[in-house]
């Protein structure tokens, strides 16, 4: 039975579902990377995702307009980010606690809106699969890489863009400076508050898209609390990835691939208790994290509010 794991169908299946499963993590974790690089830990990602997921779903449910739905999800996420930025930058609230507050707010509000505006689980026509001409016909590889919906492709395009912005632009340099030494950045004329506002709002925007990628991309349903801890795993992936977009990509793919591997192990009837199987992605992620923890160091000013000394 173990040997059946190595058939082409199974390998293609594992890789293709791993790519899909990683999509929401990528949006959310890349957004969170920006925030954390500038020194702000946002634990409210899950709440932002839920509101984004609901907003996108509702727009599609009512209008059928997918582009508008993504736009609204982005705006909703951005507004959540704006509120988070106000609380952590202007009011200098403890970041962990306020993040959890925003998470609970997102859970509660998305649930309330769902109850009032939909009332029951509905389905919509979300983003269709787009088979990229020619490339999607390559045996195996086509199915793995070139037969997904637009939001899946977008998540992977985001990685090099984020890398470029963080490492090759002045903005990236400012974000880095604000996250490492806000006092020094401030004395050089960089607006610490401005940069942090930008990164947190960007993070919220991307979390909104992460939610949309579930509710109108991968699932086409909305249900209460449907993110089910995904947003927190995304925060963990930022640490896992060492605050670098490519590292986040690696972490998201590793976690998702192992998750799809364990599904296949169960489906093929390989006799491993299901409780052990579902633990596999988490255990492996922890092991890799432990092994790599000494290698990378987070932004020095992470979770520290900045108060200008005049």
């Amino acid at each position: 039975m173990i040997s059946s794991l190595f058939s082409v169908t199974v390998l293609v299946g594992i890789l293709a579902s791993g790519i899909r499963l990683a999509t929401p993590y990528l949006y959310a974790a890349i957004g969170e990377t920006f925030g954390q690089r500038s020194g702000v830990l946002n634990l409210g990602v899950e709440g932002q995702m839920l509101l984004g997921a609901f907003a996108a779903f509702y727009i599609v449910f009512v209008t059928g307009n997918l582009a508008l739905a993504v736009l609204v999800a982005m705006i909703v996420g951005a507004l959540m980010g704006l509120a988070m930025a106000f609380v952590t930058v202007n009011l200098q609230a403890q970041q962990g606690i306020s993040g959890i507050g925003f998470y609970l707010f997102g859970v509660g509000l998305s649930d309330l809106l769902f109850q009032k505006m939909l009332g029951t689980v509905e389905t919509v026509r979300g983003f269709p699969k787009i088979s990229i001409p020619f490339l999607s016909n390559i045996p195996g590889l086509g199915e793995i890489f070139f037969n997904h919906n637009l939001l899946v492709y977008g998540a992977y395009l985001l990685v090099p863009i984020a890398w470029f912005v963080l490492n090759k632009t002045t903005l990236g340099l400012k974000i880095h400076a604000v996250g490492e030494n806000p006092e020094a950045a401030d004395s050089l004329g960089v607006s610490v508050a401005g940069v942090r506002y930008f990164t947190i709002v960007l993070g919220g925007t991307l979390s909104g898209v992460a939610g949309a990628s579930l509710s109108i991309g991968l699932l086409n349903v909305f249900q209460q609390n449907m993110t089910s801890g995904l947003g927190f795993i995304a925060v963990a992936l930022v640490y896992f990835g060492g605050w670098r977009p490519w590292g986040v990509l690696g972490g998201a793919l590793l976690f998702s691939m192992v998750n799809s591997l364990q599904l296949w192990i169960q489906v093929l009837g390989i006799p491993i208790p299901s409780d052990i199987a579902v633990m596999m992605p988490y255990v492996l992620t922890i092991l890799v994290l432990v092994a790599s923890v000494s290698r990378v160091r987070g932004p020095s000013a992470l979770t520290k509010p900045f108060e200008r000394e005049d």
Binding site: T9, V10, G13, S17, R20, L21, P24, V87, L91, Q92, A93, Q94, I97, S98, G101, F102, L104, F105, V107, G108, L109, D111, L112, Q115, K116, G119, T120, V121, T123, L214, L218, L219, N220, V221, Q223, Q224, N225, M226, T227, S228, G229, L230, N259, S260, L263, W264, Q266, V267, L268, G269, P273, S274, D275, A277, V278, M279
Partner: protein, 369 residues
């Protein structure tokens, strides 16, 4: 100054959160007494819950004798519209209300989405202290909380499911669903309808009601067509819709042309089944509305029968100590077919015979563990 601002903001946040979470949970469907709908919101004042308990409880037991409505409170792990476990109880309470003659005779309130057991325990204690005749803890995870709470309210009746354990308490009813029976019937139907001879099952966590349903389903398939391969995958969560959907994709890639699954996260899977045009069998609630083209049948829980029995017992002075089970025989489980999906006549006959066989004992469900 900064401190006060921060504190204020935190307070506002907490208030918003409580507001947002509290509102849907405490909305009673029918015009319930306003005091009652406030109940879960008061969970933060433990002092208040203890004190009135003693004074109010005796009054509550006398209530049914007078023209007061029978008052029920229920605490549920997911939403009343989850198309699964919690909805089955909510729908049953509505039917009981209708049977008994409306909110004047039977009044109920609920707290949904109580996935945090501590919150559920606080809600159960609150409801008990407010003198409800019957407080239902609809989730096996609430058992140990109930074991602690029930002795403090000897005049209140509690019901707990799905389980068979009343903890030997005179004021706890236990209820469960023989999920394997409907699972078996679904399995018989599935075995007849699969063409690829591969059937996929999507489970939450390998325990309780879910395991019972899935084991019964497997037994039904195997008894009907021993050569059909039933692939079971548990995803380790009752709420991870995304993983449930991906499991459905995986099952379909592995050749399954009929799927089933249990718990509220399966709505993700049903969507994938519809996209791939493979058949779906539901359980707990009628899931036809999610995908009218591919849902064949659902095992639906009708708790109202055993609820009525409990109410009669409570009115007669028995507050607990008994165990109930819904099954095909007592009408607590019903196989509801999708009217838009045509099941071949011989298959339908076989399913009906299976139901009869389970009821009269000529069909035994061999889960061969």
């Amino acid at each position: 100054m900064k401190k006060t601002v921060r504190l204020f903001v935190l307070f506002v946040l907490v208030a918003l959160v409580v507001g947002a979470c509290g509102t849907p949970a405490t909305q009673a469907p029918a015009p319930a007494a306003p005091a009652a709908t406030e109940a879960p919101a008061m969970t933060e004042a433990p002092a208040a819950t203890e004190a009135p308990a003693m004074t109010e409880a005796p009054a509550a037991t006398e209530a049914p004798a007078m023209a007061e409505p029978f008052r029920v409170a229920v605490v549920m792990p997911s939403a009343i519209n989850d198309l699964a476990f919690s909805q089955s109880m909510y729908d049953a309470l509505l039917r009981v209300q209708q049977e008994m003659g409306g909110p004047d005779k039977f009044d109920f309130v609920y707290s949904e989405n109580m996935f945090v057991v501590d919150d559920a325990a606080a809600a159960i204690r609150d409801y008990a202290s407010q003198g409800y005749n019957l407080v239902i803890a609809h989730g096996s995870q609430y058992g140990s909380s109930l074991q602690e709470i029930a002795p403090d309210f000897p005049e209140t009746s509690f019901a707990w499911g799905t389980t068979v354990d009343t903890f030997g308490q005179p004021n706890i009813f236990a209820y469960e669903a023989a999920a394997d029976e409907g699972g078996y019937v679904n399995g018989v139907l599935a075995a007849k309808l699969t063409k690829s001879n591969v059937i996929g099952v999507i489970g939450p966590i390998e325990t309780g009601d879910a395991k019972l349903y899935i084991d019964g389903f497997k037994a039904g398939v195997t008894a009907t067509a021993p050569d059909v391969n039933v692939q079971v995958a548990y995803i380790g969560s009752f709420s991870d819709t995304a993983l449930a959907a991906e499991t459905a994709n995986t099952q379909i890639s592995a050749g399954a042309d009929v799927l089933t699954g249990t718990a509220q996260m399966v709505v993700g899977a049903i969507g994938k089944a519809e996209e791939a045009n493979v058949l779906w069998f539901g359980t707990q609630s009628n899931q036809t509305s999610l995908a009218p083209k591919i849902v064949v049948a659902s095992q639906v829980y009708h708790w109202e029968g055993i609820l009525s029995q409990m109410i009669d017992l409570i009115n007669g002075g028995t507050l607990g100590g008994q165990t109930f089970a819904i099954n095909l025989e007592n009408g607590g489980e019903v196989i509801e077919y999708n009217p838009d999906f045509t099941v071949p006549a011989d298959v339908k006959t076989l399913a009906d015979d299976t139901v009869k066989g389970i009821i009269d004992g000529s069909v035994t469900i061999d889960m061969g563990q």
